[in-house]
Amino acid sequence: MAVRKLAAIIIFALISLLAANLAIAEDGSDQPWVSLNDDQRKVLAPLANDWDALRPWQRERMLEIANDYPKMPADRQERVQQRLNSWSRMTPFERENARKRFQQFKSLPPEKKEELRKQWHEYRQASPEKRQELRTQHPEIFGTEDVER
C-alpha cells in the first residue's frame, strides 16, 4: 500500500514538473504590443508599428532581446536599438546565418578579432568615398552596401 501511495505521489510530481516546464517554454510567445510592459515597449520601440504583424516566434526572440537589454552598458543598448529595425527585416535564413557567424567570430583568436575591430574602426572614421573604396577592396568584411551604424 505504501509503495502504491509513493508511486502516486511520484506520478503527480512528474506531471506537475512537465506542466510547469511547458508553461515556461510558451511564455511570451503571443503578446500583442499593448500587452507589453513599459520597459519592453521602450526597448522595442523601433518595432512598434510592425510588432503585431510579427509571428509568435519572432516576438519571442524580440522579447528575449528586451530581457537581455537591461544587462548591457549604455553604449551597447544604443547599438541594439539602432540595429533592431534592420534585424527584424532580415529573413530567418539570414538571421540564422548571422547567429552562426557571430559564434564563429567569438571563437577567433584574440589578435584576429582585434585586427577586425581596428579595420572597422578605420572604416567608421573614413569619408564616404574612402568607405566605398574599402567596400570594393574588402567586400568580405565591409559588405557591398554602406550598413555602418
Binding site: 509503495v3 502504491r4 509513493l6 508511486a7 511520484i10 506520478i11 510530481a13 512528474l14 514538473l17 512537465l18 516546464n21 526572440r61 528575449e64 532581446i65 530581457n67 537581455d68 537589454y69 548591457m72 551597447r76 543598448q77 547599438r79 541594439v80 540595429r83 533592431l84 534592420s86 534585424w87 532580415m90 539570414e94 538571421r95 546565418n97 548571422a98 547567429r99 552562426k100 557567424r101 557571430f102 559564434q103 564563429q104 567570430f105 571563437s107 577567433l108 583568436p109 584576429k112 577586425l116 575591430r117 572597422w120 567586400p139 568580405e140 568584411i141 565591409f142 559588405g143 552596401e145 550598413v147 555602418e148 551604424r149
Partner: protein
C-alpha cells in the same frame, strides 16, 4: 593403475557404516507417529514450494547478493521504474535549462550589440573570411 589394499579396506569400512546408518534411519522413520510425519511432510512441501518460486527481475544466480537484488527488484519494480523515470526527466530538464542559459548568453541582443552591424554577420563573404581565419 595399482590400488592400495589398505585404502581399499578403509573404503569398504565407510560403505558398511553408511549402510548401517541408512538402515537405522529407515527403522526409526517407520516408528514416527502420524502427527509428526504429517508435520514433516508439510515442512517439506513448503521448502519445495519456496525453492520453486521464480527469482525474477535481474536475478541471475540462486544465491548471494545478485539474488537479493533480484528479489528486491521483483518486489519494488514499479517504484524503481518510476524512480528511474524521475531521474531521467530531471537530467533532461537540467540539460534543457543549461542549454537555455547558454542561449541566453549568446542571444540576439548580444549579436545586435556586438562590434559589427548584423548585416556583416549575414554576409556570405564574411562567413568565408571567418572560416579562413579561424583555421590559421
Amino acid at each position: 593403475m595399482k590400488i592400495d589394499p589398505e585404502n581399499q579396506q578403509v573404503e569398504l569400512g565407510y560403505q558398511v557404516i553408511a549402510k548401517r546408518i541408512t538402515s537405522l534411519l529407515d527403522e526409526q522413520a517407520s516408528n514416527i507417529d502420524a502427527k509428526a510425519a504429517s508435520k514433516l511432510s508439510y515442512a517439506r512441501q513448503q521448502a519445495l514450494a519456496n525453492m520453486a518460486k521464480p527469482s525474477s527481475g535481474m536475478s541471475i544466480s540462486q544465491n548471494g547478493v545478485i539474488r537479493l537484488f533480484g528479489n528486491y527488484w521483483y518486489q519494488h519494480r514499479l517504484l524503481l521504474t518510476l524512480l528511474m523515470c524521475t531521474l531521467s526527466l530531471l537530467a533532461l530538464l537540467a540539460r534543457h535549462n543549461m542549454v537555455n542559459q547558454e542561449e541566453a548568453e549568446q542571444g540576439d541582443a548580444y549579436l545586435l550589440a556586438s562590434d559589427f552591424p548584423p548585416e556583416v554577420y549575414s554576409n556570405e563573404g564574411f562567413g568565408t573570411w571567418l572560416s579562413e581565419n579561424s583555421q590559421q
